[in-house]
Symmetry: C2
Subunit: 341 residues, 2 copies
């Protein structure tokens, strides 16, 4: 087996550059790609540039025995693409920084780059730079992604208005349930085909949907569900200084999530509300524009769009209304990777 | 002592955001800073955007017992600023991704951010985003820096021409010698005031000088010496498909480097040519423009600019000419962090 230590850093970089040249698309505007002190590009007029960064550490955000290198590359790129999509933008250029131990199989590293490209190519985005360093600790994948959004289209977290309807794409919670199934499984092979495990290992971003929502001009705020549905809805509340009222019987629970929750002896709403790397979109709009937004999403995707509640005044907090009309306060647990508790 | 584990990730992020708002400058063009899915900015017309990424891993690129958190922040940002400067550009926006263990002192982390800002503020550049993740392994600091350079001014590695003069700023090798002194020292306190150790711990970028060189329009190629003088000159040879002839008696050896080499029982040229994080600039130009380039640099800085040799045809390779006229072939050892040897 050829490892990084036998091939050497510069040898690996040459292989990666060759792979990107052969199998990657060339993003528009690029004036200088891999191989100098910097990459360079000519930005388009009339557009904001967007920039986001997310890092995955082995043992914490993924376990190599549970995911193939190709899927790991897809997953790492998807979480960054999702952030660009959540602003209404399109990804353009990725910078990939890897920390590696040296004992890694070179073929596996190249497969991971194929995973990156399989997410970037369909969006006409490319890898234009990066860094490879040795680490004695846990390997990591740190990606910075640059995108663009037309001036006037950018959607923030901080602009939801009281009375707005809250919409969500897809079926949040499936990825979190998939992770639980993985943890209980005797081996990855046993469960790899399960839809919920695919949802965890290779989640789908909603960048095209996000762009369509933004271009429609009808949404007031948007965020992706990378911190879980309630955590991210909480970010909208905090940044927009509003409250929310959710209708429990409208929350989109998928059949496979309900079945998995039953197998795991859990309440399916725990998965829906809690930590789950689904990368769905939550967005808000005035009630009269719900139909326009549904049409906008339907023009690019078959994903379900569900109306789940309303934006309220901040002092109402976050509330969940049962079918019988009784309401209770709910709190996002949030993701706090360092909290002592 | 307050640690990350007691404060929590979101608590730390709020502290960092507060510090950046209070102590950082606001870079021009920024439309959305910290706190959403992405940061956003409006790029200027007539400029390429530049992007670079460098990562430092504890135990490999720095040892916490040898550098203060403030200086560590300065050093990490300097290496990225240097890459922007080596294209002739100016830094604008930094994205900082940290991997932390959780036991870190919060005050130390904030001091590191002050170090970042102390390098960015004078250049009117700011931190606009980032990520904080937990790692069970070695902590790391991964920075992606965005800059700009006017169209027509960008300087690459690949455009040196046969007959060009080779110039270098400052006195390469000092940082590498400083590292050796640190390794031999009983304690950091004993040696922290030494100029060569300062050169290692808090190197100076030459971004202003690089920009002046680029704006003059007289240089043909440029690179920074982050891989050591010979390693980076080798990159120019490879990318420009040229050779070089260096005059040994012209190479700028600083007095303190000569003294340190003597104390360490080493040849000072080993430090000059070898691995050393100096972040000086190597640039090339036709012979008749040397004076213009010296003036351009002198207009922004007191740093020495030394003519060290000429660009030759590729088939001559890299040669070192002794004062008596005899010549020998030299080879960059290069930095290869993963090579098995």
């Amino acid at each position: 087996m050829e490892t990084l230590s036998t091939l050497g850093e510069f040898g690996l970089i040459h292989r990666i550059q060759g792979l990107i040249r052969e199998e990657g698309v060339s993003a528009p505007g690029l004036t200088l790609g891999l191989g100098d002190d910097c990459a360079a590009f000519l930005p388009r007029g009339g557009h904001h540039l967007l920039i986001t960064c997310d890092c995955m550490v082995e043992g914490r955000h993924y376990l190599p025995q549970w995911i193939s290198p190709f899927d790991l590359g897809r997953r790492a790129m998807t979480m960054n693409i999702s952030d660009i999509g959540a602003m209404g933008g399109s990804p353009l250029y990725a910078v990939v920084s890897l920390g590696l131990k040296g004992e890694e199989n070179v073929d596996g590293i190249l497969e991971m780059y194929r995973g990156f490209l399989s997410e970037l190519n369909p969006l006409n985005a490319s890898i234009i730079g990066g860094n490879i360093t040795k680490t004695d600790g846990s390997p990591f994948i740190d990606i910075t992604l640059v995108g663009e959004v037309a001036v006037g289209s950018m959607l923030r977290r901080s602009s939801a208005k009281v009375g707005d309807v809250i919409l969500v794409t897809g079926f949040p919670g499936r990825s979190g349930a998939g992770l639980q199934l993985l943890r209980k499984a005797a081996s990855w092979e046993e469960v790899r085909g399960e839809p919920l495990i695919r949802a965890y290992n290779t989640p789908t971003h909603r960048a095209r949907e996000g762009r369509a929502v933004a271009l429609s001009g009808h949404a007031t705020a948007m965020i992706d569900t990378s911190d879980g549905f309630l955590g991210d809805l909480g970010h909208i509340c905090e940044e927009s200084r509003v409250g929310v009222e959710l209708n429990k019987d409208r929350l989109p629970l998928s059949e496979d999530l309900i079945r998995a929750a039953s197998r795991l002896g859990k309440d399916p709403y725990e998965f829906f509300f809690g930590e789950s790397d689904d990368y769905e979109l939550i967005f808000t709009c005035p009630p009269q524009h719900v139909g326009n937004l549904r049409s906008a999403v339907a023009s690019v995707s078959d994903v379900a769009v569900t109306e789940v509640g309303r934006i309220t005044a901040a002092d109402r907090g976050m509330r969940l209304v049962e079918p019988d009309g009784t309401a209770s306060t709910i709190r996002p647990a949030g993701w706090d990777h360092f909290s002592a508790s």
